[in-house]
Symmetry: C2
Subunit: 233 residues, 2 copies
Amino acid sequence: MTAAVKDPLLTRSTEDYLKVIYELGSKGVAAQTSTIAVALSVAPPSVSGMMKRLAESGLLTHTPYRGVELTEAGKRAALRMVRRHRVLEAYLTSKLSYSWDTVHEEAERLEHAVSDELIERMALTLDNPRFDPHGAPIPTESGDVEIPDRISLTDIPVGKRAALSMVGDREPERLRFIESLGLKPGVRFVVIGQQPFQGPVTIQIEHDDREEIIGHELAEGLLCTIVEDSDDE
Amino acid sequence: MTAAVKDPLLTRSTEDYLKVIYELGSKGVAAQTSTIAVALSVAPPSVSGMMKRLAESGLLTHTPYRGVELTEAGKRAALRMVRRHRVLEAYLTSKLSYSWDTVHEEAERLEHAVSDELIERMALTLDNPRFDPHGAPIPTESGDVEIPDRISLTDIPVGKRAALSMVGDREPERLRFIESLGLKPGVRFVVIGQQPFQGPVTIQIEHDDREEIIGHELAEGLLCTIVEDSDDE
DNA sequence: CTCCAAAATTAGGCTACCATAAATTTGGTT
DNA sequence: AACCAAATTTATGGTAGCCTAATTTTGGAG
């Protein structure tokens, strides 16, 4: 009496739903109906309806009024989409000079159309990159994701050196602003000030010694790794 | 009292219809309902229905029971798709090592998802190629197509030198076979035999002096340009 | 000039997905 | 413990696009 898993013919819509459910989950945000609705710009009843269909297809389990959880098959499908998206971003940025603020949108549409073959060719051309242009890890073909432990810029104690590792944001406007501050994944800096009450963070960028003030909300989206001073301090 | 032209929001389906209508037209084949249906693998009534919608959108004119004709807007949209398809084929072949027998299928799906921006970046990277890997001309961004005068291999008189210029076929099997004969766009040869009654054509390939026998049906799809012998003969 | 087969269209249905309005369930507050 | 607001689901309806079956039109053969 095996569960009737319908043929895994994923449409663009189902791929989108699976991807955002996975991504919300990995952000620690509960994948509620309303959250999914906002993320996909659809009305909540549309989400309820789709949850039902996805549950029937065996891609997730749905406890009415409680929430959803991806099954193994659902997780696999979601990770495949995440890999596609990030490999595309990496390729477009590296080989076709896309800027990191516009590349998300292009990848968003392409991820549904490319073949696995093409994704692997792109990945190979780039020598199997481990991170996308925003610093997000690219799942492997077999579905493994490396999750580096990163800490929000708002949580780095004053005085510490750190490197920007990943920008959570996707809005072109914000990304352009972040770039204008001289920040992109890999850039190192020292936190030299941190105001209380959701106040701004001040950092000094190592490369050019420039000091930059970063508002709390923006800083929250900048995930960093602490750089241990190798010898002195 | 201008015609109410609805917003030009083209779906994947409408893009496909416009493209095949255009392509059938430029092949000299009448764009009948049944022909379109076969080309798109849909039932004839589906075509009738779509013709109605496309006519309402101002992309073509439809005289019931008579046929369709693309309007200027329709032609523009169709040429845009043709450009997309061919630029994609050229890019994938040149930069991602696709073989000419598999590239069509990939481009077929991507053509609906890429932005104009991406197509232009690809074209620029390739230095604005004029032909795709099968030798088909790539329309310019402004919608101009160069139509070189080509003659089917079956119509070349025995003794003439010619160069393969374009392969009309898209079936992977046929393309692989053609390739196995040592033929691809640009290859020169001399026609040394031509049997009557839809018989095969025999050619001698210039590059390696190999003689190849080519069945009539296949030869019909090989479009060539006569190479005038510059001095002697 | 009539008739018939082929081609095309209309009629009627289905699925996937979206939306709005009307229930329903949940969980915290009093 | 009852109630209410928020979250969610159900009910209902719409569009795009596909299908099969039934009907209509066309154009050539006799």
